[in-house]
């Protein structure tokens, strides 16, 4: 067979050799392309295959008070997370997990929902595990694949409820916030401030999370936690220094709990330059509950509580300013020159005043007799202020009030401050009631005693008194730094301010707050009783001390306290405590209160104007945190 002759075979072998060389070349090129040319691409893909990112939480910045005491701190805590390849496997692990740490169904739903949002990241199961929980979980690590226990700095508020509304609380960022980029730089699962200072200064406090890599196998199971890839450490948040006097804040809290348990209200302390010394609202809540995710039941309890503990009554609730507003009327009169401190009104107080065909009552049925402006402030005489109001005129009251800052928020550096209600001109009444639907007299008399379409929050009223107590200018209050340098000037002379302060000293010495008089220190202030259509009236008191050269201004409201004179002693104790130091404010306050002004609001329309209810519908609740439910 000649085809197998050796030279024929050699011919075919030569072709075959070339064929094998060609195939070898093709394979070499294919491998060169994959391994050398596209190496970087496949290397990254391989890394993506096996590495999972575990974010490292940055410790939030510490919040200090003015003396270096710590308001918000970090303590070591444990975050317990699970890394799972699929929802089903997560469910299976959770079932075993619940043998150690019970979770209710809504929590499990929340965990599964979080997992679906970011299946390649470890899903947070417990935000704050105790050391005991952690050690029990560690024992069962073999049956809990994908268990990641991270030592994480945990927010801690040593004073708890006492500073609740001041610092606010923290929580995981919500999807809505992520969509609106309200917290720039935040990612899914980032803990952000959700109220108070935590929210306002979140950008500084938050810091930057670090990145840690863990290695997983093809089924998404955790294989290695350490030394997998270089770790990027977290950058801690910046500490912030506040103007708060933590001792004073604690004192207010203890005073309120001891003397007025269960009473709703707020107390704010300012320096004349606008620094906030204390900001307190009752009832409070424990901000530590929110760390690591508040439980659904606890969240429900806070939301369903009729006392609305999450509401910061110092900045988020409006009350009729009532009698403390009489100082504003007096200031307007002095500024416009329609009266001096020793001006008497034509009609003495006989318990009421006839205007047109209507009779307007003073809070004291037997009357105050003939009083000048100073006396009228001291005794809070309504009849005097009715006449003074008519003399100034409604247009002037409205325009001057706007200038004094009653139409705007105080501008304190906290979010969600509620804006006051204060008409800028009479056109407001025309719009609201129709040109003939309201009586100008009635509106004037209402405004003259701090009632009517005028509601203020506590911080803004306190700010006004800071202007009276200092040189006549009201600076923007602030806790860390002022939002603006705007100072609202009252436009009063030094003597006029002195006179108003003297009148307010008289309030304490012999007037409506005389029961809270202190022999050691000259105090000044003004009581008030705000109309409340829903029950007992609310009691106001704004005071300052020392009266001749004030260093602290305290404003407070107690809901359903009936009278401002019930509030005054507490405020005065706070004033004493601050000015004279520890121990001085602790003397028992035993006083007989003269009943302060509580005239029913004048009806300026046939139907009563519904007063602003401080708790019902006019409140600004802080945005809810994301509790552990989907």
């Amino acid at each position: 067979m000649n085809e197998f002759h050796s030279y024929r075979r050699a011919e075919r072998a030569a072709i075959a050799r070339w064929f094998f060389f060609a195939i070898f070349l093709i394979l070499s090129v294919a491998f060169f392309r994959t391994q050398v040319v596209q190496h970087e691409r496949f290397r990254l893909r391989a890394e993506k295959n096996r590495l999972r990112i575990v974010p490292l939480v940055a410790p939030r910045g510490v919040i200090y008070d003015r003396n270096g005491l710590i308001i918000a701190d970090n303590v070591p805590g444990y975050a317990i997370k699970l890394l799972a390849p699929s929802v089903d496997s997560l469910r299976a692990v959770l079932a075993r997990f619940m043998a150690v740490v019970p979770l209710d169904t809504s929590e499990v739903r929340g965990i599964l929902a979080r997992y679906r949002q970011a299946p390649y990241q470890p899903v947070l199961v417990l935000g704050s595990g105790s050391f005991e929980t952690v050690s029990r979980l560690e024992e069962r690590r073999a049956v809990l694949p994908g268990l990641v226990i991270q030592s994480e700095p945990r927010r801690y508020y040593p004073d708890g409820e006492a500073v609740a509304h001041l610092v606010g609380y923290v929580g995981e960022v919500s999807e809505r916030d992520l969509a609106s980029d309200r917290f720039p730089g935040a990612q899914l699962g980032t803990v952000v401030g959700r109220a108070g200072l935590e929210q306002e200064y979140d950008a500084e406090l938050r810091g930057q999370p670090g990145v840690h890599y863990v290695e997983v196998n093809a089924r998404g199971r955790l294989v290695r936690e350490e030394d997998v890839a270089p770790t990027l450490p977290a950058i801690p948040g910046q500490a912030i220094q506040t103007t708060i006097d933590l001792e004073l804040q604690r004192y207010i809290d203890s005073l309120w709990r001891a003397a007025a348990p269960g009473v709703r209200g707020a107390m704010v302390a300012l320096t004349p330059s606008g620094e906030v010394l204390a900001l307190y609202s009752a009832p409070g809540y424990d901000p530590n509950e929110f760390v690591g995710g508040i439980s659904t039941t606890e969240w429900r309890r806070l939301i369903d509580d009729p006392a609305k503990p999450l509401l910061d009554r110092a900045i988020q609730t409006r009350y009729p300013p009532a009698s403390p507003f009489k100082l504003a009327i007096a200031a307007m009169a002095l500024k416009r020159g329609v009266a001096t401190l020793s001006t008497y009104m034509p009609e003495p107080c006989r318990g009421g005043l006839q205007v047109g065909n209507r009779y307007f009552r003073c809070w004291k049925p037997e009357g105050h007799g003939r009083v000048d402006l100073e006396g009228a402030i001291a005794k809070s005489c309504d009849v005097y202020f009715y006449q003074l109001g008519l003399r100034i005129g409604l247009d002037a009251i409205l325009s001057d009030g706007v200038l004094m800052g009653f139409r705007e928020e105080s501008g304190i550096d906290l979010e969600n401050e509620i804006a006051p209600i204060y008409p800028s001109n009479v056109a407001y009444f025309d719009r609201k009631y129709g040109p003939r639907g309201w009586s100008k007299w009635g509106a004037t008399l209402n405004f003259a005693i701090g009632q009517g379409e005028n509601t203020q929050n506590v911080i803004n009223m306190t700010r006004f008194f800071a202007a009276l107590a200092s040189g006549g200018g009201a600076p923007t209050p602030y806790i860390v730094r002022p939002r603006s340098n705007q100072v609202r000037e009252l436009g009063l002379s030094h003597d006029q301010l002195e006179g108003l302060r003297a009148a307010m000293i008289a309030v304490v010495e012999r007037g409506t707050a005389s029961g809270s008089r202190s022999l050691d220190l000259a105090l000044a202030g003004k009581t008030g009783t705000a109309q409340n259509s829903h029950g007992e009236d609310h009691g106001w008191y704004v005071g300052f001390a020392p009266a001749d050269k004030p260093t602290i201004i305290v404003g407070s409201i107690m809901e359903f306290a009936e009278h401002g004179s019930n509030v005054a002693p507490y405020v005065n104790k706070v004033l004493l405590r601050y000015v004279l130091g520890e121990g001085t404010g602790d003397a028992p306050v035993t006083v007989a209160f003269p009943a302060d002004s509580a005239p029913r609001a004048v009806q300026i329309v046939p139907d009563s104007i519904r007063l602003v209810d401080p708790v019902a519908d006019d409140t600004v609740l802080p945005p809810p945190p994301a509790p552990t439910e989907p």
């Binding site: 067979m1 085809e3 197998f4 050796s6 024929r8 075979r9 050699a10 075919r12 072998a13 075959a16 050799r17 094998f20 060389f21 195939i23 070898f24 093709i26 394979l27 070499s28 294919a30 491998f31 060169f32 994959t34 391994q35 050398v36 596209q38 190496h39 691409r41 496949f42 290397r43 893909r45 391989a46 295959n49 096996r50 290695e215 997983v216 196998n217 093809a218 089924r219 199971r221 294989v223 290695r224």
Partner: protein
């Protein structure tokens, strides 16, 4: 005349490949996750020992004996394949197929591997007995039947990879027997028709090209007409045939064209294999240290995709070394086939070469997506007894051919 030891280059290359293979197989078992691959290298060492014995035994067989045994071996192979279809079981990555024979639950081997050797011997016997190599299609019917019967039986298991190997053996052995390339092309044309029929335009162009080629090569008119009809028929049945394929078979072919179609399921193997190889770079991640393998991202890392372990851990350099060793093996076998003393020996050795080549090209090609993914072992690397045994016998056969050639003094020319 020089010393009469067995062919040293072949022994050396085979030994190097076997050592390399065992090392990689050892590495394939070094994972962070429990896989089947753990410890299989020890069992493979056992197979290596058995293989050496088998090669030595084969070395004792004369080619006359083998030629005489060929029909019996072929008949036994066909019988076993038929038996497999009836009582076969699946195993490992090919769990869904019936490619294994088991006795009392103990799996004893894959008859397809034995059938490959039987077909080589049978084809060698048939082709060497011809006075002239096949000159037309009619004369090709008999060798096509020899390879075609086991091809169809294996395809029925279904084991596409092994089936392709039969085709490779058939064509390469026909070439070595002296069949003209144009005739081989005509033989292959129905297959090309089948592939090109998925696009009407390519198929149309192909049919015109075929017509021109038939005109130029001038086979018998009857055969030309027959061939043209068969090609047309292939184009017609292509789509129905495609629809009759199992979905996983369709997916394999589709993902071969674009693995990203279904990266989680069908394309997973193709993608992970390339990721592992690509991440190896020039020098690899280091022996036993490949993360894709360690973390079980690489599928079947001890059998079908063992070459990806080479790529990941030893890099392009390691791949080149392995490919060079295979190339050397091919060239040595080619030399032996060229110098064999008789046509049967020459064809048998070339058949062995065709067997190794088909396996290497198909297996290595699929790891870089040059070939569609089929479950086919890489000689000397993949874990598995049946094929290792066949490979050892093949080497023993080649050694015998080289020995015979030297005895006859042919080696010195």
């Amino acid at each position: 005349m020089r010393s009469l030891g067995p062919d040293r280059p072949l022994m050396a290359v085979t030994l190097l490949l076997a050592v390399y293979g065992i090392l990689i197989l050892y590495s394939a078992g070094q994972t962070d996750v429990v896989t089947q691959a753990q410890g299989v290298w020890v069992r493979q060492l056992l197979w290596l020992g058995i293989g050496v014995v088998a090669a030595a035994v084969t070395f004792r067989f004369s080619f006359r004996m083998l030629e005489w045994l060929a029909p019996a071996a072929y008949g036994a192979g066909i019988l076993l394949l038929l038996l497999t279809l009836v009582v076969g079981t699946g195993q490992g990555t090919a769990a869904g197929t019936r490619s294994w024979l088991a006795i009392g639950g103990q799996q004893i081997g894959q008859p397809a591997e034995l059938a490959k050797l039987a077909v080589i011997l049978m084809l060698a016997r048939y082709l060497s007995a011809l006075r002239e190599p096949p000159r037309n299609l009619r004369e090709l019917v008999a060798p096509c039947l020899i390879a075609g019967v086991p091809f169809l039986l294996v395809l029925k298991q279904p084991d596409l990879g092994s089936a392709i190997v039969f085709i490779g053996i058939l064509f390469l052995m026909l070439y070595w027997s002296g069949v003209k390339p144009s005739l081989l092309f005509m033989l292959a044309s129905p297959g090309l028709s089948l592939l090109l029929a998925f696009n009407t335009w390519t198929w149309g162009v192909w049919m015109i090209v075929l017509a021109v080629l038939l005109f130029a090569w001038r086979p018998y008119v009857v055969e030309a007409v027959f061939l043209y009809i068969v090609n047309s028929a292939m184009g017609a049945v292509a789509i129905p045939l495609w629809q009759r394929l199992a979905p996983y078979q369709q997916n394999r072919l589709l993902t071969f064209l674009n693995p990203e179609i279904d990266p989680r399921a069908a394309g997973y193997h193709a993608i992970q294999s390339r990721v592992a190889i690509g991440s190896g770079g020039w020098f690899g991640n280091g022996f036993t240290l490949g993360p894709q393998k360690r973390l079980a991202f690489l599928p079947a890392q001890h059998t079908d995709f063992i070459f990806s372990v080479v790529g990941e851990e030893l890099g392009f350099i390691g791949v080149m070394v392995a490919l060079m060793l295979f190339l050397m093996l091919f060239l040595i076998l080619l030399r032996i086939a060229r110098r064999a003393t008789d046509p049967f020996g020459s064809l048998a050795v070339f058949g062995v070469l065709a067997l190794f080549f088909s396996h290497v090209f198909e297996n290595v090609g699929m790891t870089v997506n040059l070939m569609p993914i089929t479950g086919i072992p890489l000689p000397f690397f993949s874990y598995g007894g049946s094929f290792f045994l066949i490979a050892s016998i093949s080497i023993g056969l080649a050694l015998r051919a080289a020995w015979d050639a030297r005895l006859s003094g042919y080696a010195d020319t």
